[in-house]
Symmetry: C2
Subunit: 409 residues, 2 copies
């Protein structure tokens, strides 16, 4: 049994992402900020909310006016006015007084709480009875209680989801500094690979990997740049890589599953300016023949040729590099799923294994059902909801054991 | 305690989505199909792979030529040629013969298996020794083993992820029939709401909900159409709704948390052509004052005014309607996360509760940490990774109990 390359543990390979930096920043209108990553800390210039607001329909009061009130011993308050929606009340209230207030209304001067309308009874036009003693700040959201002026609203490196966009609106940030989306060059390699448009001749197959990787890049918030198919010959491969590097921020090669083709890829990469191989082989399965390299400031990831291996290596090896170039702070991957394995799985010690699984909810639990098949079979990824991870030192897992699953969304 | 409206259980309300149909279909190039939903069953015209391929570097053989071979008793085979990559071999092999073949190479006639190069020794230019007995089909992916010609490659209603795009490439579908993305009209309502661009006057607040809902629509694969802010007055509200309905496939209103505002919204909706209220209140928390209505073929969802309530109601009430209009078959929501609750939570019986939680991996488990705060506070959603669901009939949950969590991505 020969060992063709020196594999490195996955964690060590992922750590190489730290060698790179985000590709630049720009300012976009808030309307286009969803899915982007903040390029600097964003301070709140204003308080949110800007004033003390009622969270209920009811009566604004000084809480102490209600102290001691109960269903059997209500207190009477004088209604001195109605707070208009969207305006400051033109009046204040004193002890023993109340003002009708809608949800979202601004508390008038002298009020520090709101009695829900359900806990009152209208006696006449200017009198209510209150059936409950309330505390200061009850049914009120204070000025700055959500975000105080001067606070960091969003830290640099935050992915802008729906709620982050809402927060930017709340603090009036209509022009948002965000990192550029990394442009990911995608080169398919292989003497046997054709574009999908024509029926392949004998011995030839259609290029799947370009389309898989373009989709994965979009899912990772990057801009894919499909650069076509290159034969497994060093000179054209080198020229394609050099040309690609001038047009992208990170380059993904895929193909070359044969040993000869992998050696060719390494040779072609090393001919590039400031090129260096960081890892030649990663201790994962599938995906072991993955190459991680750099050409100056740009990472180059050589993914395996089998489409499933390429996709898994993208998820676990390439993604941290994409995230790093995109400026995402720390590990902002979606939360892992924990699932119960439906059957025994054997595995070789020494490499992290990522098993395609279907996830089904069953008896209040999430069950992971392994999908059997070869790493060249795309149907196994179609059926998969996630990749169940078996740590490197385990020799397998038994049915019923719990494991972490990386969702494939 | 007055009951202002008749609430319906969440499941009942979600089932109203079945009243609606997808908004139409179009054909897009494969390069633009990622994230879209197939509008019809897509048949594979070809077999994938189109021929029997080697999955290893090695020697193509008739498996029976190796029967009985072992490390201590190797068999000798005559090497009759090399399979070129991307072409059919111009020769066949017989018993006792082998052909050198690269990973991905097409098996020559007469071969039914591949011996890995690691299990052979080269004796001379035309002779190898094989150290292992292999079975037919070993290290081979058969023609059509991934997808057989004539099979349904993707069923109608499938969201096209990276792997589905790869599969379409594999079967040569370069023009993909997909459902139109639903256009989601978004109207913010409220007399106190201003666009985020200017500093709000006393009593007024910036519009957050439009931006939250636009982001959520994008995340759900729909096209948001922000239609601005309308005051809480029946005539302008009716006009804005009627105008919006002419421009979108589904309309989201948000705002009107006061009882008066909600009644106004119901009144304005009912003035529209073919309008009907399907639910006035949903048994969820937050999000109870959600209205579900229809104007002929178009759903109208009246979301609460508090931004957190609006976002939760979007996730659990509005999304099934969006998915239905988008043509997604069945429940293609991302897999739920199961997590262990970090502290006790009390709750009222009778409504499903969705608790904002942070998810952290701890001791090999996923722990859900509830985020405390009011439903008007966007910071609570910024801190949240998901919504932990407490079923309607539970009165709360204890620390350490497991619950399902809907990820907020």
């Amino acid at each position: 049994m020969k060992e063709f390359f020196l594999v490195k543990p996955l964690n060590e390979v992922r750590a190489f992402a730290e060698l790179f930096v985000p590709v630049g920043a720009e300012v976009v209108p808030l309307e286009q900020a969803w899915g982007r990553v903040t390029a600097q800390d964003i301070l709140s210039q204003d308080s949110v909310p800007p004033f003390a607001r009622s969270t209920m329909d009811g009566f604004a009061v000084a809480a102490r006016s209600t102290f001691g009130a109960s269903f059997s011993n209500p207190c009477q308050l004088a209604v001195v006015g109605t707070v208009p929606m969207g305006k400051a009340a033109g009046f204040g209230i004193g002890p023993g007084q109340a003002a009708s207030i809608p949800t979202g209304g601004m508390l008038p001067k002298g009020a520090d709480a709101v009695v829900m309308v359900e806990h009152t009874e209208t006696i006449d036009d200017i009198t209510i009875e209150v059936y409950k003693s309330i505390s200061p700040q009850e049914n009120v959201i204070l000025a700055g209680e959500d975000i105080a002026a001067g606070q960091i609203a969003l830290a640099a490196g935050t992915r802008i989801r729906a709620q982050e966009a809402a927060l930017l609106a709340a603090v009036g940030v209509c022009e948002v500094p965000v990192f550029l989306r990394p442009v990911v060059g995608i080169l398919s390699t292989g003497d046997e690979v054709d574009p999908p448009s024509a029926a392949p001749a004998p011995g030839r197959i259609r290029d799947m990997n370009t389309y898989a990787l373009c989709g994965q890049c979009l899912g990772a918030g990057c801009t894919p740049l499909a650069l076509g198919i290159v034969p497994d010959k060093e000179e054209p491969l080198f020229e394609a890589i050099a040309n690609a590097l001038s047009r992208c921020d990170i380059l993904l090669l895929s193909g070359g599953s044969s040993v000869g083709a992998r050696d060719l890829a390494v040779g072609a990469i090393l001919k590039c300016s400031q090129a260096k191989i960081l890892a030649h082989g990663v201790a994962i399965s599938p995906g072991k023949p993955t190459i991680v390299a750099q050409a100056g400031p740009k990472p180059i990831i050589g993914l395996p040729g089998h489409v499933v291996s390429a996709m898994v290596a993208f998820e676990v090896v390439a993604k941290p590099f994409l995230h790093r170039l995109a400026g995402l702070a720390g590990d902002q991957a979606p939360p892992l799923v924990k699932a119960r394995l439906s059957r025994n799985l054997a595995k070789k010690k020494g490499r992290e294994e990522f098993v395609r699984v279907r996830l089904v909810a069953k008896d209040g639990e999430i069950v992971a059902q392994p999908i059997l098949g070869k790493s060249g079979e795309i149907r196994t990824m179609i059926a998969a909801d996630g990749l169940l991870r078996i740590p490197a030192n385990d020799e397998g897992m038994e049915a019923g054991e719990q494991a972490f699953v990386l969702p494939l969304t």
